[in-house]
């Protein structure tokens, strides 16, 4: 489907979720939205060299991550999955440290958080998810891998190889493509032949679903079903969350060069946060007091993370050498001495 025209499915209301869950999703989305705004501000203030905003994709990220089993599953993100990290309980100061360029992969513990290090290679982490999932199957465990990637990444050879491999091995992995309409300056028409990433799944013999990516409940339900299927031995599947990159590609980007503000406005009408709020209200699952409290508490949390990452100490120069090998080499020790004498 051409970028900008929201998919038909977006008109249908998402399936109803338990009130408690709906409220949790909303609160997490709100925290993500507020923290995202803080991050953009930190970049403007020069605290972050650059930042990649996920604004508009909160429902796709929170909805998909909330469906994961935090004890068993493992997420493989790109560089834009801040709300996934938040949903999975990753140390957000450590996560944001990646955007402050304190450490490329972030300063959180990826193994303990079951959320891989931030990965800047488009398509690169997708085969990792398949390998991790195969590892679960080989070990007779029941965890699933969730592989996050974008519409642009779907053009990379690694993504194809990973999907085919997952199909052949029956690996318990869920491929979550956030199709936000744009890969930097290139819209879907110039990126995804055929127009649908979900449609690729059939070619690998796995289920592929396109869902309204701005409806957290719809995403939660689709990813939940895919996880259930993978967990019960049904193999991989693909969920394409149709959403929109409401912000520029990064704080250094200039959308005026390549996209029509009208498109942004049309998608603004489908902003996942007001929608979630409206749904909660319509269902009578939340009252004014809830929204007031949520606003306050989420803002406090966003500010806590903002202050934490701003205050985080820079890693010492010696960290250059700290994690290159687990079994140190004499040559690197020698270079460390050179650094100590001439730079450190």
């Amino acid at each position: 489907m051409p970028t900008g025209e929201p998919p038909a499915s977006q008109e249908e209301p998402g399936p109803a979720l338990p009130a408690e869950l709906s409220r949790r999703l909303y609160r997490t989305m709100l925290t993500a939205r507020l923290l995202d705004a803080e991050a953009v501000a930190l970049q403007r203030q020069g605290v972050f060299p650059a930042y990649v905003s996920l604004r508009g994709q909160e429902a796709a990220q929170v909805g998909s991550a909330a469906a994961m089993d935090r004890e068993r599953d493992f997420a493989f993100p790109t560089y834009r999955e801040m709300a996934v990290a938040l949903t999975l309980g990753v140390d957000m100061v450590g996560y944001m440290a990646s955007h402050r360029a304190l450490w490329h992969g972030g300063l959180y513990d990826p193994m303990a958080s079951r959320f891989a290090p931030v990965n800047a290679v488009v398509g690169g982490p997708v085969p990792h998810a398949v390998g991790w999932a195969l590892g679960e199957k080989l070990a007779g465990r029941t965890g699933c891998a969730v592989s996050y990637f974008g519409d642009g990444a779907s053009s990379e050879g690694d993504v194809h190889e990973a999907m085919n491999l997952a199909g052949v091995l029956g690996a318990p992995v869920v491929f979550v493509c956030q199709n936000n309409g744009w890969a930097l300056s290139v819209p879907n028409e110039g990126q995804v032949a055929g127009g649908s990433v979900a449609a690729r799944a059939a070619g690998y013999g796995m289920p592929g679903t396109a869902v309204d990516g701005n409806d957290a409940a719809a995403v939660y339900t689709a990813v939940g079903a895919a996880l259930e299927r993978a967990r019960s031995g049904g193999g991989p599947s693909l969920v394409e969350a149709l959403t929109y990159r409401a912000a520029p590609h990064s704080t250094s980007d200039d959308t005026s060069r390549y996209r029509d503000p009208a498109e942004e406005r049309s998608w603004a009408g489908r902003d996942p946060l007001p929608r979630a709020r409206a749904a909660l209200e319509a269902a009578g699952d939340a009252d004014a007091a809830f929204f007031e409290r949520a606003e306050a508490e989420c803002r406090t949390e966003a500010e806590r993370v903002r202050d934490g990452v701003s205050a985080a100490p820079e890693p010492p120069g010696s960290d250059l050498f700290a994690h290159v090998f687990r079994e140190p080499t004499e040559e690197l020790a020698r270079q460390r001495r050179v650094w100590q004498e001439e730079v450190g």
Binding site: P49, S155, A183, V186
Partner: protein, 343 residues
């Protein structure tokens, strides 16, 4: 400076004024190449409508049309691979790989296809491809946006490799590369994109320099500093400092990393008897080893000290605050000079 900082580029296709930035100079070179040869094509990720994340291709699509300057999907291997087919069909492709670290997915097509097709076809299949790769570090960019792959490219039979150090030379080198009927990997020093300073003293009217020619950008007699890309400027800074202590350093800008100017290296070091090679890439198996070997082979009897190497450390290219700790500093260059003089 961020990897997608915005900016503007010149329009006209004449040689850039000395005060043009390297981005403007490169933009004009591409504009001229597109103008002079209708077979020239510019394509890659975000090079069309956006004009490139560094604006090096800014305005080219508007001026030359969507058929000759176009965006591709996010597929580095196919970008390099389609260049092979386009070249075999009479075109002169100038693909861009958006960043150094993302040249790896295209490496199989570059090494096993682009670099070999002329050989494989016994000279019948033309391969006038210039692969532009914004390269090297120094701009506090995300991971994989500060890599230096020159040692990899220079090792590949059938490839030529260029790396300019200033705006004026970038213009000349890029035009020379695109006009070449051999495949060239063109490594653009991101850290110099916004720079207007040209090298003080080109040894020759650079326009006449053949493929493979280096140039002495500062004359000196006590030791030779060898560098390319952004490190040339750093060596010139080091030479300034050294001059204050009466140490006269010669600075040689290699410009071409394949073929390498072994004669130029030997000539300079036979005079100065001492050499320091400086690069951003990790030390081990970096191009500094090759340069050191060439100098030693070409000037052994005159060498007063072993060639010194000042390079990045054997660690993954680090994030922001550690970047200045990783890259060769003026101090490290001067320490190395001291070691050669001490000997």
């Amino acid at each position: 400076m961020s990897p997608t900082a915005t900016g503007t580029a010149g329009g006209a296709a004449e040689a850039p004024a000395p005060a043009a930035t390297m981005r403007e100079a490169l933009n004009r070179a591409l504009d001229e190449a597109l103008t002079e040869d209708p077979a020239t094509l510019v394509f890659g990720e975000d090079v069309g409508r956006l004009g490139g994340v560094f604006r090096v291709t800014d305005g080219l699509q508007r001026r030359h049309g969507e058929h000759r300057v176009f965006d591709t999907p996010l597929s580095e291997a196919a970008i390099a691979g389609m260049a092979v087919g386009l070249a075999m069909n009479g075109w002169r492709p100038v693909p861009e790989l958006q960043f150094d670290g993302f040249a790896y997915p295209a490496l199989d097509q570059i090494v096993n296809q682009i670099a070999r097709m002329n050989y494989r076809s016994r000279g019948t299949a033309p391969m006038p491809v210039t692969v532009r790769v914004p390269s090297f570090g120094g701009i506090q960019a995300p991971e994989h946006h500060g890599e230096s792959l020159e040692a990899v490219f220079a090792h590949v039979p059938g490839l030529k490799v260029a790396a300019p150090s200033d705006a004026a030379d970038a213009y000349r080198l890029l035009l020379q590369s695109v006009r070449s009927d051999d495949p060239v990997v063109f490594m653009e020093p991101k850290a110099r994109y916004w720079d207007r300073v040209d090298s003080p003293a080109p040894s020759a009217p650079d326009g006449d320099l053949p493929v493979g020619a280096s140039r002495v950008v500062r004359r000196g007699r006590h030791a030779t500093l060898v560098a390319w890309g952004a490190m040339v400027h750093r060596c010139l800074q080091a030479a300034e400092f050294a001059a204050e202590d009466g140490v006269e350093l010669e600075v040689l800008d290699l410009r071409w990393l394949k073929p390498l100017d072994s004669a130029g290296l030997a000539e300079s070091v036979r005079r100065t008897r001492r050499a320091v090679v400086v690069h951003e890439a990790p030390l081990t198996a970096g191009l500094g080893g090759e340069v050191s070997a060439l100098i030693t082979e070409g000037a052994f009897s005159r060498l007063a000290a072993p060639v010194q190497r000042v390079a990045g450390f054997d660690v993954p290219y680090p994030a922001g605050p550690l970047e200045p700790q990783y890259l060769p500093t003026v101090d490290r260059i001067l320490f190395a000079v001291q070691r050669t003089l001490g000997a």
